[in-house]
Amino acid sequence: MKKYPRMTLNERVQHLNLFINFTVLVITGFALKYPQAFWVSPFTEVPLGMTFRGLLHRLSGVAVLTLGGYHVLYLLFTDQGRRILRDMIPGIRDARDLWETLKNNLFINRPAKELKMGRFNFREKFEYLGLIWGTIVMAVTGFILWFKEPWLTNFPAWTYDVARAIHFYEAILATLTIIVWHFYSVVFDPEVYPMNWSWITGEMTEHEMELEHGLELERLKAREKEKAGETGADTGKAYPFYGKGGGKGSSARSIYSIIQDFNRDIKNWKGM
């Protein structure tokens, strides 16, 4: 099964970092809003638990922002990053893709229109934009709440109350977006279920590429042919900067191959 590179190791580490810190933020954040919920008892039953909660929340917040800063530098100053930036810019094509997908799903297009989407389809672009927006809003309001004394030296008290409200509701929006949009895209979508593993392995199968990034697949294949034609060998390198190219994955190989086999079995399940 041919594999296509999707995320470099650096990118996967960035994503994992974000994953962990976002989760910590969500848990420690909502723990303050719902202190009597059952899942908050680890904080409430322990002396200084709530103080620790606050510390964790701020630490994770700083971690996300540091990661964000690193990511911006990555986008600006590395080849991979610059390419991502270029491929992530949303356009009319994405709006069209979304609209056509919706029509397909509602059986308005009969037969369903085949859509070839680029390296990052409308789902990912939407997710990415949402992440930028959410991070900015949460960071700004978060800092107001954290450094209230200096802030309130220069601004009226009502800005604190407003920042608090925004911080809470944006948190709800962000958390629900991750659950409803992102988790569907990478877990519950029948075409990738039980999971799109590229966040660990860094690769996607040809089939997955076909379904979700058809245009990119075409482009890559054309490039391969070109390269093969030039040098007479299949270099197999999809992107010029990828070290080892498609195929070999990460060090989580052995664990992954078990999961991979399981994954394949589920996908090929034809019933009893």
Partner: protein, 418 residues
């Protein structure tokens, strides 16, 4: 003349001596006639309920007591002749301690116990119930039943006897004795029942001169806690309580009565964990009280929704509770310049925990409740933020749910085995 004069003086002295010796009341009086029968330990009589009453008197004990120099009939003055000694007839009337102890008797007659007796409850405390009968010692004497260390036991003989308490409807739940034993007052060993209730002047709860009458409680506690009492008297609660407002708390409302513990004890109502959960909200979140006094119940809810309230509910002891900002015994309305929450004092109050708190900290409403209908600007804006965001969430997330659901549906249908 000289002879007569001498004789007159002599006979005068003799008669006086005779009268005196007949009347008794001289130190080391002769009680042998009485003791003849009453030294018998088996001497008893039956009272109206049929219970046996011991009539034995230990002469040794009596001689050691404070009344030891008196004769029996000095107190048992009803016995005027030999009739009792001869026929063993029951003596009808009680001993009148007031014959000698007039001031105490006068005081006692106004007291709760005396009034109960007069109304017919003979089981209430008479003089001898607290002081003893034949073995009365001075108060300062350790053997006295009303010595500081013994008073509790004396009072609790009735007031912690569950049967007695039940029979005379003296209250339900743990007895005062049980509560007091565990309280901080009980453990210091310096406070006794009489410290707060008085002794001969122990009056009914509804007697305006009683030390435990509602309006007098602050004064009573103030005997040992004078600065706090003074502070409290000037506070809003103190002022209202003194005016007779029964909903306004006094010392006992917040601290308890017999079972007062220090504020570090978790069961104490003034423990920092309970102040904002129970002690203050029980009145300030009560609709009836709010309506009567024109205050709002929103303060409690808005506190619970604020950062301080949320963190506090999570168990944080650093977060502000009601007392942190409003004070404890010096609670005054925000319009009072001496109040911790007076507008010019707020910065300092907030500054206790937030060093660097600017004047802006204190501006605007503290107990905010975000609502688009609110009058305060901050509340209104936060209210609008809420409305807009909820709409946004419904539209955006709703849209996502719809989109993904249809996607899932289509893909599931397409994957059906054919």
């Amino acid at each position: 003349m000289r002879d007569f004069k001498e004789w007159a003086v002599f006979s005068g002295i003799l008669s006086i001596a005779l009268i005196l010796s007949m009347a008794g009341g001289v130190w080391g009086a002769d009680n042998s006639l009485c003791m003849g029968c009453h030294q018998d330990e088996a001497l008893t009589r039956q009272d109206a309920q049929g219970a046996k009453i011991l009539l034995y008197v230990s002469e040794a004990e009596f001689k050691k007591s404070v009344h030891g120099g008196l004769s029996c009939t000095d107190c048992h003055a009803q016995i005027k002749d030999e009739a009792h000694a001869a026929g063993g007839q029951k003596v009808r009337d009680r001993v009148e301690c007031g014959t000698c102890h007039q001031n105490e008797a006068k005081e006692y007659r106004q007291s709760l116990h005396a009034k109960a007796i007069m109304k017919g409850t003979d089981a209430a405390a008479h003089c001898y119930d607290c002081h003893g009968t034949h073995a009365i010692y001075p108060v300062k004497d350790e053997k006295s039943m009303v010595h500081g260390a013994n008073i509790e036991k004396t009072c609790n003989r009735c007031h912690s006897d569950t049967r007695f308490v039940k029979d005379h409807a003296l209250g339900a739940g743990p007895t005062p004795g049980e509560l007091f034993e565990l309280s901080i007052h009980g453990q210091t060993g310096e406070v006794t029942c009489a410290s707060c209730h008085g002794s001969h002047d122990l009056r009914s709860l509804i007697d305006p001169q009683s030390s435990i009458f509602r309006s007098n409680v602050t004064q009573t506690c103030g005997v040992c806690h004078p600065e706090i009492a003074k502070e409290f008297e000037e506070s809003i609660h103190g002022v209202l309580a003194a005016r007779g407002r029964s909903e306004s708390p006094t010392c006992t409302t917040c601290h308890g009565i017999h079972g007062i513990k220090t504020k570090v004890a978790p069961e104490s109502p003034v423990n920092e964990r309970r102040i904002a959960m129970t002690t203050c909200p029980q009145c300030h979140a009560a609709e009836r009280i709010s309506e009567t006094y024109g205050i709002t119940t929103g303060q409690v809810k808005s506190y619970y929704d604020s950062f301080h309230g949320l963190s506090y509910q999570g168990g944080d002891t650093y977060s502000a509770n009601c007392a942190s900002c409003h004070g404890v015994h010096n609670i005054r309305p925000s319009s009072d310049p001496k109040s911790t929450i007076y507008k010019d004092n707020l910065q300092k109050t907030c500054g206790h925990c937030h060093p660097g708190a600017s004047a802006n900290f204190a501006k605007g409403k503290m107990h905010i409740a975000a609502s688009i209908h609110a009058e305060e600007f901050g509340e209104k804006v936060a209210g609008w933020v809420r409305v807009v965001y909820i709409l946004l969430i419904i539209v955006v997330i709703g849209g996502m749910v719809f989109f993904n659901f249809t996607d899932w549906l289509r893909k599931t249908i397409d994957k059906r085995p054919r």
